[in-house]
């Protein structure tokens, strides 16, 4: 093998080992750490992050990447890995250390202020810190460079090459085509769902969740599940991928669909190729593509009629007192109630995208200088009225609900919606490629789907751009038609529209 490429691989593996140590320090913090360990843990994570950053941004890495970038002897796969690393190197070295420190400091400060503002239910407490953060993010956009508008630079941080122009088209479709569906559903009676809130014993829920993970193909030889306050997925390498869930004994939704959601994330990580550990080809493509996997299992599979035709009779036997008088159809309907609410994280899969669109509009306007921070609550509340016909009564259920902006995550929200849109388009392609898929799901047999996703998505890591991969799988660029078809068909049937 090319000696330089070998060196480059070794460096990346070393850095990745450090990053995985950071990952386990973080995982343990949520799962096992005793309360008193918090301060020293934060320091340990910061130290290791510093080491990983030093190793990656070292001038020897820069020299190596420059040589490799102009090395004609590399295979296309090798060249693609190098190009990704070069991009990342340039991004990381474009931000001076002093700026990164300032940002990190403002993030800690901002997060504390956000917590305090939530305690007082008062956006004004958070406003000056948000102001500072918006200014820093504008500076960041300038340091990174951008086409057309600064917000594009921030989008690119989370979803490479994503631009405002593409989002405008997608959200125009949300406004025009999904609004109508929402209105039609709102005119219909809400399906019965009181049985979802009966007593579901912890251990039985846990066992059922584990069986769901096994059903979708999550491999416990290379993973485990734990309980945490907020469900999340961590990978310590493709051969140690961990998911978490939470269990509410009086709300059957929480465990079930968070398990399927994190399970989808977990399948993606378990499907990356171990021989590519450390390399871009061994890392997930992008946040949107990751979210697509979780949404696909949470919604396209996990809220489908076929899935519950198989699983509901099993569930009925586990919880006879709660469910013996309920039919699979009633359960399916209760799993798919569409009802706009104030809180994004508990939104149904249709109204969800209005929550995202509102945040997108606001953060874009903040970064572009078209909105003053002090006006955020007003614009927030007026957009909730306009799109979801809801009157926000306070900031807690309004613009203080999400942690993202306090952490400096501007440009992140859109990847959530993109995840659902990609999921719908990918799932339609899977259905086309596997005419037997619906029948298999009805029989509790989901390994075929996992195999297809492994072959068509997971194994590639960052080999293709998301646009290339989307076209390769679905024949077309990302667009809303699959999502709209899926939603119209499903909810027309469910609500007799």
């Amino acid at each position: 093998m090319n000696t330089n490429y070998q060196k480059y691989t070794e460096k990346l593996v070393k850095i990745t080992d450090v990053n995985k140590a950071i990952a386990i320090l973080g995982w343990d913090q949520e799962i096992n750490m005793p309360e008193g360990g918090a301060a020293i843990r934060a320091q340990q994570i910061a130290t290791l992050s510093g080491i990983a950053h030093e190793l990656f941004t070292d001038h020897s890495m820069g020299d190596l990447l420059n040589e490799l970038t102009n090395d004609p002897s590399l295979t296309p796969e090798q060249a693609n890995n190098v190009a990704h690393s070069k991009q990342e190197f340039d991004k990381k070295t474009h931000l001076p250390a002093s700026f990164v420190q300032k940002l990190s400091h403002s993030t800690s400060e901002g997060f504390q202020a956000w917590l305090a503002a939530r305690k007082k239910n008062d956006f004004a407490v958070f406003a000056p810190f948000l102001e500072k953060m918006v200014n820093l993010k504008r500076q960041q956009a300038n340091l990174l460079g951008f086409e057309k508008q600064p917000y594009n630079a921030l989008l690119d941080e989370f979803e490479p090459n994503l631009q405002v122009a593409q989002l405008e088209v997608l959200f125009a479709d949300v406004r025009q085509k999904i609004s109508g569906l929402l209105a039609k559903i709102a005119a219909k009676p809400v399906p019965k769902n009181d049985f979802m809130f009966r007593f579901y014993a912890h251990q039985k829920q846990w066992d059922f969740g584990i069986s769901l993970l096994k059903q979708i193909g999550y491999d416990f030889t290379y993973g485990r599940q734990d309980i945490s306050t907020h469900p999340f997925t961590t990978d310590l390498g493709m051969q140690d991928v961990r998911v978490t869930t939470r269990i509410n004994e009086h709300n059957f939704h929480e465990m079930t669909w968070s398990t399927l959601h994190e399970g989808g994330h977990g399948l993606y990580e378990q499907g990356l190729l171990p021989q590519n550990y450390g390399l871009p080809s061994g890392a997930y493509l992008s946040l949107s593509m990751h979210e697509a996997q979780s949404r696909l299992y949470e919604n396209n599979v996990g809220r489908s009629k076929a899935f519950w035709q198989y699983n509901f009779p099993i569930l009925q036997k586990i919880f006879p007192d709660n469910l013996q008088k309920i039919s699979a159809e009633q359960f399916y309907a209760a799993a798919n109630i569409v009802q706009p609410g104030f809180i994004r994280t508990s939104a149904d899969e249709i109204s969800y995208h209005f929550h995202i669109m509102i945040r997108y509009e606001i953060e874009k306007a903040l970064i572009e200088g078209n909105l003053a921070v002090k006006d955020v609550p007003d614009i927030w509340n007026s957009l909730y009225k306009k799109y979801l016909n809801l009157t926000v009564k306070n900031d807690l259920e309004g613009c203080l609900q999400d942690v993202h902006w306090s952490h400096g995550l501007f440009g992140y929200f859109p990847t959530y919606s993109l995840g659902s849109f990609y999921a719908a388009q990918i799932f339609r392609a899977a259905e086309k490629a596997m005419p037997q898929l619906a029948t298999e799901i009805q029989q509790g047999s989901l390994l075929g789907l996992n195999k297809w996703l492994r072959e068509n998505i997971y194994q590639y890591g960052k080999k293709y751009s998301i646009d290339e991969l989307c076209k390769k799988i679905t024949g077309e660029e990302l667009n809303l038609s699959a999502f709209i078809d899926y939603a119209e068909k499903k909810y027309t049937d469910l609500y007799n529209l």
Copy 2:
């Protein structure tokens, strides 16, 4: 503060953060890691170990330590820290990287051969690898340098300044004074202990173990307990100290005294001062001193009459079926049965030291070239006959029972015995300093003892040498009189000698 000293502190804290990340990777490996994660985990640990080694042996560290060693402006505490680090630096840089690699390779190989030899119950399978290891350890002694004999260099690796001369005196006392006690006990009937092997439910044992940890002062705000195959203690900093135990539902010994043993280790780590994190003054003094803390709680406290006067009635209420017809005295006697056996790890606190002495004699002879590897089984078996009157029937219960030599741990075993001897001497000092101690233990009140140990041992880290600290606390150097007094008094009473 002195700028150089500040730099030195920062470097050590950084290295310690990396070492704590290694510690959590290791802890998780035993407690949580899915089976399939083993290979990548081993690599991650190796990478981080390499980084910690590089950071510590970097020439900038060497320069700094040289400057600080001759810096008259340091406080005595600072100078002591620097001296310790300088010693460690010299040791680490005396071994060339090629030698360290060879040793590491032979350790992996040796461990696999040891496993294979155990499977076949045949020392000959392990012999060539042990031969190689003995040669490497001799080389290591030469590279490190030594006084009088090479084995001293290896002892020093685990217990700074420990020399053969000191061990000869101690083990002569073991042979001369403890042998007699053993013989007298052997002539007496074995106390009843069948009730220790009745069914003790897992959860009830777990809860009782947690209550014991709390009783001795282990602080769960800064720690936790888990289950593992072999009990161990890990610290991720003084504010996150973790112990493990194991539970056998048909043997009440295992959980109880392993919990007290690891609890003792845990108390030491929790008692180091957080402001000294990373510095020698914030690290445990030595292996023997660490073992002294675990033995003190396992034996001097945990097998004492006073301890069970308080705890046995509690235990009786938890397990009435097993214990209602048993008296506290009977339980105390069963907890202290002395009966020589083949296996070191399940030995009683008296015959234990013959196991150690035999290993010490053999490894010393191997290193000094007075014994050929092929003769190890014969000499092993003849020493077991001589000291414990046992006829070893095979290598599994003989010279293949311990993993240490396969890992290259020559010079480690003596620290186990030293731990017990220090424990007895320290406990006697604690009894002198706190005349109320026995009464407190009888009342389940052990926080006074913890406070005394914190003040007299834990807080100091490596501030004093073990000889200095032993004299400071007990008024004399390490000797066997406290251990012999303790053993004679206890077993004369227990066995009516």
